[in-house]
């Protein structure tokens, strides 16, 4: 690790100002990604701005049909929240399978989506549920938020404040964990809301994407068998040490069917 200045602002304004005044600043949520990267000396921020003490970034609330989760909410809080379990059980379930207990106690939804790791779980939930990301300057629809591998629509110094999820009729997430890291080798989030069905896939490509042909098939018939016979193209799918594109294509089919089966 290189040396850096550490700050712990109490408000969004203070954080924004600290960011603007520093040379090469970085926000820090739970440090689950940024600290290992710094320890490896792969990042050398001049200033670390710890968002842990900003109350505007905390908390889970329900308003009508929508669930809002503050950016600094830890995965274990989402997993254990009665509000989340009631409104979108699939989301609580997803959070409960992120990494391991230590990671869930420190990692946050804001840090996860800001990082946009291609194998992260939350991006699939945001895209499938049609969530909205509230930042310090605007609202961004989930689909516009995740732009490319490790990249998002966030501008320099723009902070995620919270994420709002409309509650679906039915939803489920199926994850095939990487045996080493337990990130998603492939994960499929399926959500049915009124006249819309969304199938979002994470872990399989460079960035979360929707499986449009699956969505169409499920729109008429929301059952696993509706996906019979549909094959997934390997175009654009990752091949790495743990899974080839072909295997990931198979996982997308298998997991999507299981998610539809389990959606409640």
């Amino acid at each position: 690790m290189y040396e850096f200045e550490y700050h712990q602002p109490k408000s969004l304004e203070e954080a924004t100002k600290l960011f603007a005044d520093a040379d090469d600043p970085q926000f820090m949520a739970g440090g689950q990604t940024i600290i290992p990267v710094m320890k490896q000396r792969l990042a050398m921020p001049s200033d670390i701005i710890d968002l842990g003490k900003i109350s505007d970034l905390q908390g889970i609330s329900v308003d009508g049909g929508a669930l809002t989760i503050g950016a600094m909410t830890h995965h274990n809080e989402v997993a254990g929240s009665d509000e989340v379990r009631k409104a979108i059980p699939a989301l609580a379930e997803l959070a409960s399978h992120i990494g391991d207990p230590a990671v869930r106690n420190r990692g946050t939804i804001g840090g996860s989506i800001a990082n946009n790791d291609p194998a992260a779980d939350y991006p699939a939930a945001l895209v499938a549920l049609g969530a909205t990301v509230q930042t310090t300057s605007r609202e961004i629809a989930a689909e516009d938020f995740f732009t490319a591998m490790f990249e998002t629509a966030l501008d320099e110094g723009e902070m995620i404040v919270n994420v709002t999820f409309p509650a679906p009729e039915k939803a489920a997430y199926e994850k095939f964990p990487n045996p080493a890291s337990r990130y998603a080798t492939t994960g499929v989030f399926v959500a049915k809301t009124g006249e819309s069905v969304r199938v979002a896939v994470t872990g399989a490509g460079a960035c979360v994407f929707r499986q449009i042909d699956f969505e169409k098939a499920l729109l008429g018939d929301f059952s696993p068998s509706a996906l019979d016979g549909l094959t997934v193209s390997t175009d654009g799918l990752n091949s790495d040490l743990h899974a080839s594109a072909e295997y990931r294509a198979n996982l997308i089919s298998v997991l999507a069917k299981r998610a539809v089966k389990h959606a409640g």
């Binding site: 690790m1 290189y2 040396e3 490896q40 000396r41 095939f176 990487n178 045996p179 080493a180 890291s181 040490l241 743990h242 899974a243 080839s244 295997y247 198979n250 996982l251 298998v254």
Partner: protein, 780 residues
């Protein structure tokens, strides 16, 4: 005394320390004036060092010393020795052993090879300086696969060693085995691999070195499994007498073979400590552990079995090519040769056997023993070929095994591999395992799995292995006036619990209070010799030394007791910590005898104060043969290829069990590592660049608690060995001999309707899924 006696499940004394965070591992030690080192390592698998410029680094803040290959040449420091017990090729010429220096001189041969040691006041300063050391490399072509390394035209790792060839070796009756194959009704052949894995101990390697210029002595505290042998290695490198190096291991957080050897770093640290006149600490990080801890296994093998028409085994022929990495490490060439040969054929009666092993150099981190070192490989080879034979002959794999096990009355027997199998009852152990496995309930469980769309399979894998490691061991006891005793032993625990089990032996034999025994290990000043830990030798050799020592103490204690009671030593009987004269019923307690041993007025002529203090050296003559049987039931998800090991049943014959709780722990740990090898672990190098792909825990999969099956374990204790006074057979490595074949064969059993006959380890979900797809296509 009963409570702490031999055979009792005494809880581990050391766990209080380990579990409350009060252990003393190397990084917990912080001497005054401490400075820090980092190792700059080769980023290339194979390259010439054209230039190495440390001038800028030397001017960096806090930098005290930088060690490079130039220093090594200038000081004429010596290469580290290899002590492979197999050291001659088949043609009688010595093995090809290139010089293994502690630091690269002018060429690097694997990713992670030390190129410079940078020492600074703080760790961060050392890291900063390491970044500006300029090394000009000329990259060379690399080869990381042993089969490719032996092919003509392969990149040459050593200029003067042709074809990357280290050694070849054979054992057994070549001609007789050939005949068995000629006359056989059936011949079954299989190519398979025991892939490259790493131990990944929870504590990475690390050391603290210092030098006392007044006495001219060095002091090394080191996360090692073997203080004596490695002291000698470092001393020989630095050309100093061994007595001038005091080597100590504090609490060590796991070794599994990866902390056996004399690594490069300690010599570099010792040299730098003298130069800077300051104690220096180096702690390897997790990436260094993956890149620069010795790896294990990595054998490519062809196994052939000859059978008669009834399925009786006639002959076994095995040919293995082992990767040993870029250098002969400490005993690297032994594993694929002698180490894998001895237990070939497992517990089966096979009249004719022949083994050929070749060790080849590649551009990978060198290999050295990893839990079992050759025996798990052999066990996997025989169990896979037997399973395949059953498949090809259309026989029940359980029945085929049953009829070919060495009958109980065939023991003692020397196998065609020269292994001296003295005691055991393989059929009995096999049947007990089978009985535990609830075969009757299988059909129902199979149906339940099928209902969920899953396959279920079962396999049984008897194993026979052997111990190893240094044959000699020291044990010494020193008493205190208060009845306390200090037990010093040259073998050592890296977490296995000898701090508990060794005092159990002493307490049991001498009736001294378990709680009052202090255990000392891992210190070259405390013990004149020591074989450390390796080859499941701790209890076999170290425990036997403790018993021998205790018995010698007992002889003296009886004499003293007799003197105190005015009677005969021969009439003394020790029971529940009291010596009683069997004739007169007079008695004196062991505690009083100890107290008397410090009081000259109570001692007989010829005994001096402290007369009970005893040092002894035990020497093992013949290695013992732990054996047992594993069975496994697995569930396979054919849609994703995921394997869950549901249940394992294990019966082990480790001879006498000193502490069943600790022996259970050894089996469970061995199963975890065996399961890791069977299903997920693999060290992967990029074929073209030679880069290490699995360089972190994000890429190298290790089993977690939820990967583990239910385990039921039992011991067969009716066949203690006479090869050592305790009757123990060694329990440390057995788990990873039995688990891989049991698990892999159970998966193949689950997939037999799919037509899958073989999958290479590790059986990752993708490989299992692909095997099903391929079989489907072939079937179509």
């Amino acid at each position: 005394m009963e409570k702490y006696g031999i055979g009792q499940p005494v809880r581990r004394k050391e766990d209080v320390r380990f579990l409350t965070g009060t252990g003393t591992y190397i990084d917990d030690i912080k001497p005054d004036n401490l400075i820090h080192a980092v190792v700059l390592r080769s980023p290339h698998a194979h390259a010439k060092i054209l230039d190495l410029d440390t001038s800028e680094a030397e001017t960096m803040p806090g930098v005290l010393c930088i060690v490079t290959g130039k220093d090594w040449v200038a000081e004429d420091f010596q290469p580290m020795p290899t002590k492979s017990a197999v050291n001659k090729k088949i043609d009688g010429t010595p093995l090809n052993q290139p010089p293994r220096h502690a630091i690269a001189i002018d060429r690097v041969r694997y990713v992670g090879e030390p190129v410079a040691l940078i020492v600074a006041e703080t760790l961060v300063q050392a890291q900063d300086a390491a970044e500006v050391v300029e090394v000009d490399y000329e990259e060379l072509e690399a080869v990381t696969d042993q089969i490719k390394a032996l092919e003509p035209g392969a990149p040459q790792i050593w200029d003067d060693i042709e074809g990357n060839f280290c050694i070849d070796f054979e054992l057994g009756d070549k001609e007789g085995t050939g005949k068995a194959f000629e006359t056989a009704d059936h011949v079954v052949k299989l190519k398979l691999r025991n892939q490259c894995v790493t131990a990944a101990p929870i504590e990475t390697r690390g050391a603290i070195a210092s030098y006392d210029k007044d006495t001219g002595k060095y002091f090394l505290q080191n996360a090692t499994q073997n203080v004596h042998a490695n002291r000698d290695t470092f001393a020989s490198v630095l050309k100093i007498p061994s007595e001038d190096l005091h080597h100590m291991a504090p609490d060590v957080g796991g070794g599994f073979g990866a902390k056996n050897s004399g690594y490069p770093e300690p010599s570099l640290l010792l040299y730098a400590a003298k130069k800077t006149d300051r104690p220096i600490k180096w702690i390897g990080d997790r990436n260094e552990s993956f890149a620069a801890d010795t790896h294990g296994r990595d054998q490519a093998t062809t196994v052939e079995m000859a059978l008669d028409k009834d399925g009786m085994f006639l002959g076994l022929r095995t040919r293995t090519v082992g990767n040993i990495g870029a250098y002969c490490w400490t005993v690297g060439p032994f594993t694929p040769t002698g180490g894998s040969a001895r237990t070939q054929g497992g517990p089966y009666y096979i009249p004719a056997m022949h083994y050929t092993g070749i060790a080849a150099f590649t551009n990978t981190m060198p290999l050295d023993p990893y839990r079992g070192a050759g025996r798990p490989e052999g066990s996997f080879q025989i169990e896979r070929i037997v399973e395949l034979a059953a498949r090809e002959l259309g026989m029940d794999p359980v029945e085929l095994r049953r009829k070919n096990l060495m009958p109980a009355d065939s023991l003692p027997r020397k196998t065609p591999m020269g292994l001296d199998v003295d005691t055991g009852n393989f059929p009995e152990v096999f049947e007990r395992t089978l009985k535990m496995s609830d075969r009757a309930g299988f059909a129902k469980r199979f149906e339940e799995s099928a209902r969920k769309g899953l396959r279920r399979g079962f396999a049984i894998a008897p194993y026979l292995e052997c111990t190893g490691g240094g044959p000699k061991e020291f044990a010494g006891v020193k008493f205190g006036k208060d009845g306390s005793a200090t037990l010093r032993v040259g073998s050592m625990s890296t977490g296995m619990g000898q701090e508990t089990s060794m005092p159990q032996i002493l307490s049991d034999t001498l009736g001294i209070d378990f709680e009052k025994i202090t255990y000392v290990q891992g210190d070259t000043d405390a013990t004149p010799i020591g074989g450390g830990h390796g080859g499941s030798r701790n209890m076999e050799v170290g425990g036997s030394a403790v018993l021998q020592c205790a018995r010698e103490v007992l002889v003296k204690a009886k004499q003293l007791a007799a003197h105190l009671l005015n009677s005969n030593a021969d009439d003394m009987e020790l029971k529940e910590s009291v010596f009683t004269d069997v004739k007169t019923d007079q008695n004196v307690s062991m505690a009083d005898v100890v107290a008397a041993s410090f009081d000259q007025s109570r001692l007989p002529d010829g005994m001096e104060a402290g007369a009970l203090d005893t040092d002894t050296i035990f020497e093992r003559e013949i290695i013992s043969c732990p054996n047992g049987c594993h069975s496994a039931e697995v569930e396979v998800d054919p849609e994703t290829g995921t394997v869950q090991v549901e249940h394992m049943w294990i019966v082990d014959d480790f001879g006498t069990i000193i502490n069943p709780m600790l022996a259970d722990g050894q089996v469970m740990g061995g199963v975890a590592q065996g399961l890791g090898q069977a299903l997920m672990e693999e060290i992967v190098y990029d074929e073209d660049s030679g880069q290490l792909v699995t360089g972190s825990l994000m890429d190298y999969a290790l089993p977690r608690a939820d990967s583990m099956p239910k385990m039921e374990m039992a011991f067969y204790e009716d066949a203690p060995t006479a090869k050592n006074p305790l009757g123990v057979k060694g329990s440390g490595e057995a788990g990873c001999c039995g688990a891989p074949p049991a698990i892999v064969n159970a998966v193949l059993d689950a997939l037999k309707e799919d037509g899958v006959t073989h999958i290479e380890m590790p059986l990752t979900p993708e490989k299992v899924w692909r095997a099903i797809q391929d079989a489907k296509q072939q079937g179509a």
